[in-house]
């Protein structure tokens, strides 16, 4: 019957089309990381170097720090590489991560309209945010529990002002990644806290520029953790550890330092072994 | 109730005893009793709504009666022609062979037999054509070939030529007669009095769900007994 042959052809094409999912398990690991490392292009720069050195394929899932840690908690990644020290320490304390290892830092910058209506420009992030608050200028918050969002809330805490809880009308929580939030800020011509890497590689700046930078408070530390194989037996401990070891090795640290956009270095290696 | 048990009267092929059929509150058949013997060619005549189509569908087993008994050959030994032939979206040969293959006949044998039947119906040259692209007459001849190829004991036809051009009507009629010569018994519903005269050995005249007259064709047209039949013949004449 022709129908049967139709179905067998269909089934055969399905099998052909099915991409090999489970092959070459050992030669690849999954890393849950943040949009800032992925979208700034850092991984695009690092991973080919690591692959040449180790033969290991690294698959990066880029999420907010909170989500990335959650992926690690569920055992859906082998390594977590994020930037929210408090949350990372909690992750390790709960037994989900083996050990937190600092790798590098970049810094946050306060972005705002080029005419800076709130007069927030300077080297002090706390003063800058206060100025935005007093001027009731539009401010875009990630609002997604990412590392950047956590940092932003930390700085607001230091101003002793709390527009998020006040639900101030000029304070907009977008609940989105760094890029989409920057797009929103550009469209609203508002202020936003961003990591320098994403800002440097961001193309749709329109009228925005950096208004506050260089404050030591703005340093943004990245840490890396192996997901605990004692919690999730399938974690690729060896390959994952190799990646971590490489990141903090002289070779890995040099690779991080060599990544530049427009001549500007984005990430500063500071691994302490 | 339908029964496939052998008909009591040894000679009858189809037998209905006080058959009633209702749809909701409307009574379509109001107690029809009828015996049809092998080799007969029976025309069902009557106005629209007399119950001709319902009677054919009951005999073919497409519907079941509410009351009375009905005995007819197993469905596999019957074939039915419809006014609009339901053709499959395949070529002519496959449409005919389908009837055989669905009964488990091997493909080559089915196609061989189908080609023979197509040739009898004058459709050999069209065997590879897409069935639904044929003319109305060709489509009905194809439906007839599909019926014929299964060598049915009983051929039912419901207004099978009603929407055909006169030339096609005659071709289809000739093929129906050929089938009867090969041993099929024919029961057909028609509004075409000429067709009834040309094909039928017997007329069953129906009105409002009852059989009013049941006689030979010559007798019926020469001496209609009931007022309904007289009216029907007169209307047709005008």
């Amino acid at each position: 019957m022709k129908l049967t042959s139709f179905f067998s052809v269909a089934a055969a094409s399905v099998l052909l089309a099915l991409p090999v999912g489970a092959r070459a398990q050992d030669a690849s690991i999954t890393v849950a990381s943040t949009t800032s490392t992925e979208q700034s292009g850092l991984f695009g720069h690092l991973l080919p170097i690591f692959k040449r050195a180790s033969g290991i394929d690294v698959k990066v899932v880029a999420l907010g720090t909170g989500q990335a840690l959650d992926v690690g908690r569920r055992g859906d990644a082998d390594v977590v590489f994020v930037h929210d020290q408090a949350a990372e320490e909690k992750f390790v304390a709960e037994g989900f991560g083996v050990r937190r290892i600092p790798v590098m830092y970049n810094d946050f910058v306060l972005i705002g309209p080029s005419d800076d209506p709130a007069k927030s420009a300077g080297k002090d992030i706390v003063a800058g945010l206060k100025a935005v608050y007093n001027a009731k200028s539009a401010f875009v918050s990630r609002g997604d529990k990412s590392g950047t969002h956590a940092a932003e809330l930390r700085y607001w805490k230091q101003t002793a002002l709390d527009p998020a809880t006040e639900k101030a009308s000029w304070y907009r929580e977008t609940g989105s990644g760094m890029g989409p939030a920057l797009n929103t800020a550009a469209a609203m011509n508002g202020y936003i806290l961003a990591d320098r890497g994403t800002w440097l590689s961001f193309k749709n700046r329109q009228n925005l520029k950096i208004v506050v930078e260089g404050d030591t408070k703005l340093f943004n530390q990245y840490g890396v953790m192996l997901v605990n194989p004692a919690k999730h037996a399938h974690v690729k401990r060896d390959a994952g550890q190799k990646f971590i070891d490489w990141l903090v090795s002289a070779e890995g640290q040099a690779a991080i330092a060599s990544y530049k956009i427009g001549g500007e270095q984005l990430f500063f290696p500071n691994a302490t072994k | 109730m339908r029964s496939t048990a052998p008909v009591q009267n040894n000679s009858a092929l189809v037998e209905l005893v006080r058959v009633r059929y209702r749809v909701g509150d409307t009574e379509i058949l109001r107690g029809v009793s009828l015996q049809i013997n092998p080799g007969e060619r029976v025309a069902l005549l009557g106005a629209n709504g007399a119950g001709k189509t319902t009677l054919l569908r009951l005999i073919n087993g497409l519907i079941s009666s509410n009351e009375g008994t009905l005995a007819s050959p197993p469905v596999a030994l019957q074939a039915m022609l419809f006014q609009k032939p339901p053709l499959l979206r395949r070529n002519v040969l496959d449409n005919v062979a389908f009837a055989l293959k669905s009964r488990g006949m091997a493909e080559t044998e089915a196609e061989q037999l189908s080609m023979q039947t197509l040739s009898r119906c004058g459709l050999t040259g069209l065997s590879q054509r897409y069935a639904r692209a044929l003319s109305g007459g060709e489509q009905q001849k194809l439906a007839l070939a599909r019926a014929w190829v299964t060598r049915p004991t009983l051929l039912l036809a419901d207004e099978a030529t009603a929407s055909l051009a006169p030339a096609a009507v005659h071709e289809v009629e000739r093929l129906m007669l050929d089938m009867c010569e090969q041993g099929s018994t024919l029961i057909f519903a028609t509004h075409n009095r000429g067709q009834a005269k040309r094909l039928a050995t017997r007329i069953v005249f129906m009105s409002a769900g009852r059989v009013i007259e049941d006689r030979t064709a010559d007798d019926f047209f020469a001496n209609p007994a009931s007022q309904e039949a007289i009216d029907y013949i007169n209307v047709e004449r005008v």
Binding site: V14, Q39, D76, M178 | L62
Partner: protein, 232 residues
């Protein structure tokens, strides 16, 4: 911006940029597989609904029609939780793989194909039920014949399913993770480039996506006509 995007799309296509090509190819594979598997599930389901007298018939119809409106992100979230290592299907290791993306998209396209196929099969059933009864076909034979008789229309349904799959972003993003070179497809690449502010590049990828969908539909349209002509 739009003209810029057109030029960029042309440049990407004409240079056969390997990264773009692998993204396009993965999109076609994932969505094509999802549409085929979806059809293999949906067609028997639709056929069952058309011929059954079961009490489950009406609930199934409502369920199918309601699931036409399933939001891809919800499907993505549920599939994510299912496929997660701590979820019930975690042992498969399908999260962040193309297999997982296909799984999510099958859930999205099956209702569309089934709901449309039900309509097509029901119309054909109306047309053929007397014939099938008078040919004394079994229920299974009738179903097979119905599916075969409607094959041209069902091909279009396959395209409808494929169309929903390839245009979908929410589920593949969550389940696939948009991993460069592994699970990045057209739509997630577009979302990524948009979030990087590379609006022209995003638009260029979008143009390629639209172009591919168009080409596939044109090809299917003519394939269907040729198939028909063979019989006419």
């Amino acid at each position: 911006m739009i003209a810029d995007a057109f030029l960029q799309a042309l440049a990407l296509v004409s240079s056969f940029d390997p990264a773009v090509m692998s993204i396009v190819w993965l999109s076609l594979k994932v969505s094509g597989a999802a549409a085929l598997i979806g059809a293999l599930i949906a067609l028997p389901l639709a056929a069952w609904v058309v011929q059954t007298r079961s009490l489950l018939r009406e609930p199934m119809i409502v369920l199918l029609n309601a699931s036409l409106g399933l939001p891809p992100v919800i499907v993505g979230l549920v599939v994510y939780l299912l496929l997660s290592r701590t979820g019930p299907m975690g042992a498969l290791g399908w999260l962040f793989t193309p297999a997982g993306m296909i799984f999510a998209q099958v859930i999205l396209v099956t209702p569309i194909i089934a709901a449309l196929a039900r309509q097509v099969l029901e119309d054909a059933q109306q047309e053929y039920q007397d014939l099938f009864a008078s040919l004394a076909l079994s229920r299974w034979q009738s179903l097979q014949t119905l599916l075969f008789e409607t094959r041209f229309s069902l091909l279009v349904l396959l395209l409808a399913g494929f169309g929903r799959a390839i245009a979908e972003v929410g589920a593949v993003m969550m389940v696939g993770g948009n991993i460069a070179g592994h699970t990045r497809v057209m739509t997630t690449a577009i979302a990524l480039e948009t979030s990087k502010g590379e609006l022209a590049l995003a638009l260029a990828l979008g143009l390629i996506l639209i172009f591919i969908v168009l080409v596939i539909n044109i090809a299917a349209h003519y394939a269907r006509q040729v198939l028909r002509r063979r019989y006419a």
